[in-house]
Symmetry: C2
Subunit: 311 residues, 2 copies
């Protein structure tokens, strides 16, 4: 499925109404449900056996990943989660103990963030396990952080380390909810997204949504994960680590832009508040479209063809 | 999957919080999101190729059915829908025109009831098409109609005709949203549910939720669909029509109980307001558990083993 091309044809088919503040296309939709203090956030996402996890994976980790992805999307809006509903599709003859394991993993992560799980449908899905989660959250009224607010000159930040999530982090990541709310309240980023398709692809989403801007990234500033470095050592013909950090995806870190004048202050305050979480300034937003990477050997243009995985 | 047995083991794994008014187990969850006038309704449901529709079905009807099921659940709470998010799982190499068709059918039904579709995820699902919809709705505060409020002596009503939905209605049904809201506002049923698993099974849900009550049904009062009668004629060894009406499922009609003293008044007012929609009083709630059917040859006990399909 050529997702972007398809989505552009799908969007006109999706009705809207007066409740909608922000419709499909951001990390979450934003709705005005009548609460004078807050807007609602609404999101769905799914994980599928053979695509997002392999059959031998412990069921608890499947549940964790499925709701974690939605929680990460709420974090990327600067919001907090409220309640989730779950659809679980199972092959015939699936072990009930595994179903309980999936719900245990999902329920444990939900409980950690005070999310109520208020509905669970089970259906047969002949081809394998699929777990779809819909999440409702909230954010202070008119305070949702969108992808579309970046400006030329903004500094680009990302939390945590990037690359190599396939070695485990894609199943065990912790959604950056505390960090997202703190950023929204204290530094009001111009634009924010979670890194699900890789730094380059998700930064591309911000740049396109913000009016076809561009970015200059510094290779030496990329927060490359240990997993990405280890993978490169064990597979010498694989991606170099910096390319893994740019393109691997499923890191579920927060990527955001702020005015460059607050960059130093943000770094200091973040370090004081989240001493265990890395925060890296990886570059800046520029008016010229496209993403360019300053490597040790000079500038490299990162192909921006639809901002799909390109490596 | 032995759904009921599993659910009883799952429920303790599902965290709750102060937003929850009614958690998992009714047609929708009920949440207090801070609007002084209303409560939110939250529901998810899925349709799967080979289970809920066959591969040759027009994609528009798949989309219609998927959101229609959730709309029917909102109707059964006496509420109205607000917004939906969609997860679509597709086999590899699925025709993009079919994807557009699915969304067209879903979007048309959504638009008819002023529902915004605010998110759509597409993923690969190797085994076939799966379409999961999550729906957010609202209902006047403390006015959600639950399954649990029936009393001995209540009259039992059902809208429309029952049985034989496999011949087409299961794909093309119209959710009873107008009827549900009208009933909630004018007659405040003690208990309401939509008929998805068959009259007997769904009535069983009301009776168990209301404190292990029972029901006496009148076979001659069952609103048997033309489709059910035609099926019996063409397959003489199949279910008799009244059994089809009791057990076929996927009728998506409203089943509810009201105090018997308002039954006649309700019939008259409903007929005046919805002249095109049948409303049938099919029996009464009794204190003795179990469902008994008064047939032309005498009383028949309908096995209530878990209220699964039994025919």
């Amino acid at each position: 499925v050529k997702e972007l091309a398809l989505i552009s044809r799908l969007l006109p088919l999706l009705p809207t109404n007066d409740y909608v503040v922000v419709g499909a296309g951001d990390d979450c939709a934003v709705l005005d449900l009548g609460d004078p203090e807050s807007h609602a956030l609404f999101k769905t996402d799914a994980v599928v056996e053979g695509i997002h996890f392999t059959p031998e994976i412990a069921p608890e980790r499947i549940g964790h990943k499925a709701i974690g992805r939605c929680l990460s999307d709420v974090a990327a809006m600067g919001g907090l989660p409220i309640a989730a509903v779950v659809t679980l599709g199972l092959p015939r003859e699936y072990d009930p103990a595994k179903v309980l394991g999936i719900y245990r993993g999902l329920g444990q992560l939900a409980a950690r963030y005070q999310v109520a799980v208020v509905g669970g449908e089970t259906t047969t899905n002949p081809g394998g396990v699929i777990l779809s989660v819909a999440l409702l959250g909230h954010v202070a009224r008119d305070r949702a952080l969108l992808r579309s607010g970046a400006s030329a000159g903004d500094a680009i930040f990302v939390t945590g380390d990037l690359g190599g999530s396939i070695d485990g982090k894609h199943l065990d990541f912790e959604p950056r909810l505390a960090e997202g709310v703190w950023l929204a309240e204290n530094f009001r980023p111009h634009a924010m997204i979670d890194v699900s398709d890789g730094l380059a692809a998700d930064l591309g989403q911000i740049l396109v949504a913000s009016g076809d801007l561009g970015a200059e990234l510094l290779q030496s500033a990329l927060p490359i994960s240990r997993a990405a470095r280890v993978r490169t050592r064990s597979t010498p013909r694989g991606k170099p680590p910096h390319l893994a950090a740019l393109t691997d995806g499923e890191d579920f870190e927060l990527l955001f832009t702020v005015p460059s004048r607050v960059a130093v202050q943000l770094q200091d305050a973040f370090r004081a508040h989240f001493p265990a979480v890395k925060l890296s300034c990886v570059g800046k937003v520029v008016s010229q479209p496209g993403i360019r990477l300053r490597s040790p050997t000079g500038w490299v243009t990162i192909p921006a063809t639809g901002y799909q995985h390109f490596a």
